[in-house]
Structures are given as structure tokens and as C-alpha cells.
Amino acid sequence: MSSELLVKLTDVNFTYDRRPVLKGINMQIPRGKVVAIMGLSGCGKTTTLRLIGGQLRATAGEVLVAGKNVGELDSDELYALRRRMGMLFQFGALFTDMSVYDNVAFQLHEHTDLPEELVRDMVMMKLHAVGLRGAHDLMPSELSGGMARRVALARAIALDPLLIMYDEPFAGLDPISLSIVGELIRTLNNALGISSIVVTHDIQESLKIVDYVYFVSEGRIVAEGTPADIRKSDQPYVHQFIWGEADGPVSYHYPARPFGEQIYREAPRAR
């Protein structure tokens, strides 16, 4: 992790509704690398992305993106920074009242005064990169889950960002789409010379494509390393996560009082 840093989180805490979500997160995303943030649902992965994108502000600590402290930017500065970021949402978040073409052209229409012929060429190039040039006049309702994810990816790279953030890019995809999306993340990262942050719990697919992994559990980073380090790790949490074991530091059961006590107390009500 020695190359120049694009994103740096230092001692970041985030509290929502008096409940601590992130507790002292330190993270570094170098330029040109694909970094994964892994963990169970609700562990604070998506919150981390939202802090980097400025949709949430850290309760304590510092979030630096391209040298700027996101928490201290006013709305104009934040919007200027966001033009250099792309984000892929969990289910694509395509605008359902616009065609595939208009979705990808959205930022070009909103932020530039380019002539429509040029916009069209750029949109077709982006769609070609994700293999969907032929689907430009379809509506989002006509796309499969994997295609929608790829259109969203083309939309995310429309303004050639410095950083792309992926929120659960593999969720709900069939094995072929999953592999295609994984391959695309790596290829686009290398071809465009950008940095990528992938939030996921799909460990097998992401270990194939990422350069570095952070494991988050209950708002803290519990393990980190390259995919090779992670595969070799004997930390109980990492082991349980990789092998999908029910027993380990992460409990399968939601906290509850002892079974016997519950049965005894609730028995009279059942009668």
C-alpha cells in the first residue's frame, strides 16, 4: 500500500441515532488500486462509502479524498468533488423514466455543454465498454439485474472519475453476470487508471479481483491484507467469513435471553 493515496480515513467515528456505527476506522486507498471492504450486513461498510462520498459526515476523525477533507467542504465544493467520483449502487439505481442512453448521458447533459453528437459518441463508448451498446434504447424495466448493473457502471464512468465506489456490486447476480461484473471492475480500473472501492460480502469473487482487503465487524477493522494474506489468515473472524461457518466469533443467533427462561415466562400466555 505504498503508492500515492487517493482516499485516507483517519480515526473515523460515526454515530447514528446515539448508536455507534463506526469506531475508529483507519483506511487507505492508493491510486490505481482496487480495495475491498468486507463484512457482514449492517457492519458499517455502506456507511463508510457514504462518508467518503460526503452523503454522511463523520462524528469524529478525518476523511480525505484527493487531498480534501470531505467533512469540511461546503455543498458547492462537495458537488465539485463528486463530479470526480462515480458510484455504483446495490441494484443499479437507474432512473426508471429514462432510457439506457439517457441514463448514461445524464451527467454529460447536466454538467457539460457538449454538442449532442459528441455526447452520443461518448455514451456509445461507455456502453461499448460494458458490452451494452446495442441496448442503448431499452428502458431499465427491460434489463436483467446484471445488465442494469452494467448500465449503472457505464453511467458511473461517464465523466471519467478518479474513484469509483461499488456498493454490493455482486448482490443477486447469476454466476455468469457475477463473473462479468467482477471482470469489468478490474478491467475498467486498469484501463482508466482509476481507483476502486468495492463494498461486498462476496468473498470468493472479490478476492480474484482486488489488491487489498479490509474486514469490518461491528464498526471496527478486524483484519486487513492482500488477498494472499487473507487466504492464509488464521484469524478466527476471517476464517469463519471465508469458509462461511456458523460457529465462530460472529454469532448466528440474534441476542436473546436464555431459551428456558423465555419458554417458562411465555408459557402462561400461550394457554
Binding site: R82, M85, A93, F95, T96, E110
Partner: protein
Amino acid sequence: MRDDFFSGGLRGLGRRVTDRVWRLGFAARFLLATIRYSTVAFGRFGLTIREIYFTGVLSLIIILVSGLFVGMVLGLQGYDTLQRYGSSEALGILVALSLVRELGPVVAALLFASRAGSAITAEIGLMKATEQLSAMEMMAVDPIARVVAPRFWAGVISMPLLAALFSALGIFGGYLVGVQLIGVDEGSFWSQMQASVDFREDIVNGVIKSAVFGVIISWIAVFEGYDCEPTAEGVSGATTRTVVTSSLAILAADFILTALMFRGA
């Protein structure tokens, strides 16, 4: 135990009241933000025109048909009452004043809240639930400027036009029943109407009422959509709240406006 019951009840009541007041304050700030970020709605008027089509033009059928039937019923009921006093020629005045002053703005607003207000809330709510608004924010486009403001202004512009069309079709309905069906004198019907309906007092006041209703419905509709829980249940609750709150607000505002406009008239 008894003290707990009362203090718990009072705490719950207090919390509900402060929540409502807080939400009202948030809605007021939201309206100010919508107005402040309206440059996109007017600078790129095509966006607003598109929303006028969805909220206004697509509401035309229900407004026109309802207006026609309300006017026809007014014709029947009005004739039945007026002929008892031998003044059935005044039917034109009764139909026109009822529609232009009251029924046009109010019934058109209630229909508009049900047809278009609910659709605006559901659309914005679903955009929120499917992260489209978040995606827009992450693409450095403000959803209040791009999504909320055009829909708000489309409602404000459409409402007076729809109320005017409602009244026009209602008067035509009254004419069909009163003059063509029952046989009230056509000359008296139109001339008495022309002589008695005042442009400033009746028509302009009716337009002002419908414009105020347009602001109320559009404000409630966009706010409920933007503020809803991003779940299926949240969107459904917000849509219901839009219709119920708009309807009550329209009737309350109508009373206040009528009291202010027609004092001693």
C-alpha cells in the same frame, strides 16, 4: 403504577406534539429550499413542461368529466329550488357563482390531490426507495432542484388552469340541463350570469383560491415523497398522507380564504 401510567401518557403526548412541530418546521424549510433551487425548473423549462404534462394534462379527463357532472347536478338542484320562488331564470347566476367561487377551485383541488398529488408522492418516494435520489446526489445533481422543484411548479401552474376548466365545463353542464333539458330561457340564463358575475370579485378570487390550493397540494405531495421511509410500506403511507392532509388543508384554507375574500360581499 398510576403515576407511571399518567406520566408515560403525558410523555407520549409531548413526544407526538414535538415530533409534529419539528416535522412542520422541516416541511417549511423544505418549501424554502424548493423555491431557492427553482432556477433549474425555470431555466430548463422543458423539465417543468414535462411534469405539467404528467400532472396537469393527464388529470384533464377526470377534471373535465367531474366538472360536467357537477354542473349538471347544480342545474337540476338549482332549478328545483329556484322554481319554488319563481326565479328559475336566475339559474345561470347560481350555477356560475357556485362553480367559480367555490366548487370549481375546491372540487378540482380535491380531485387534483387524489389524481396528481398521490402520483407525485409515490414517484418521488419510489425514487428514494430505489436509491435514485442518492444516485443523483452522488452525480453532483441536487434532487431538490432536478426532481422536486419542476414537480412543485408544475402542480402550482396546472391547478388554476384545471380549476378554470372545471368551472367552464360545469357551467356548460348547468346549461345543458337547465336550458336544453328543462327549458329555462337561454337569454336569461346567459345575460343574468354575465350581469352578476364580477371579474374581480368572483373570477379573480376563484383563481387566487385555486393557485393557493395548487401550492398546498404540490408542497405536501413533494414533501411527503421526499421525506417518506424508503420502503414499500413507507411509500404507501406517504401517498395516503398526501391525499388526506391535502384534502383537509384545502377545506381549511378554503374557509379562511372565503372569509377574507367575500366579507360583506
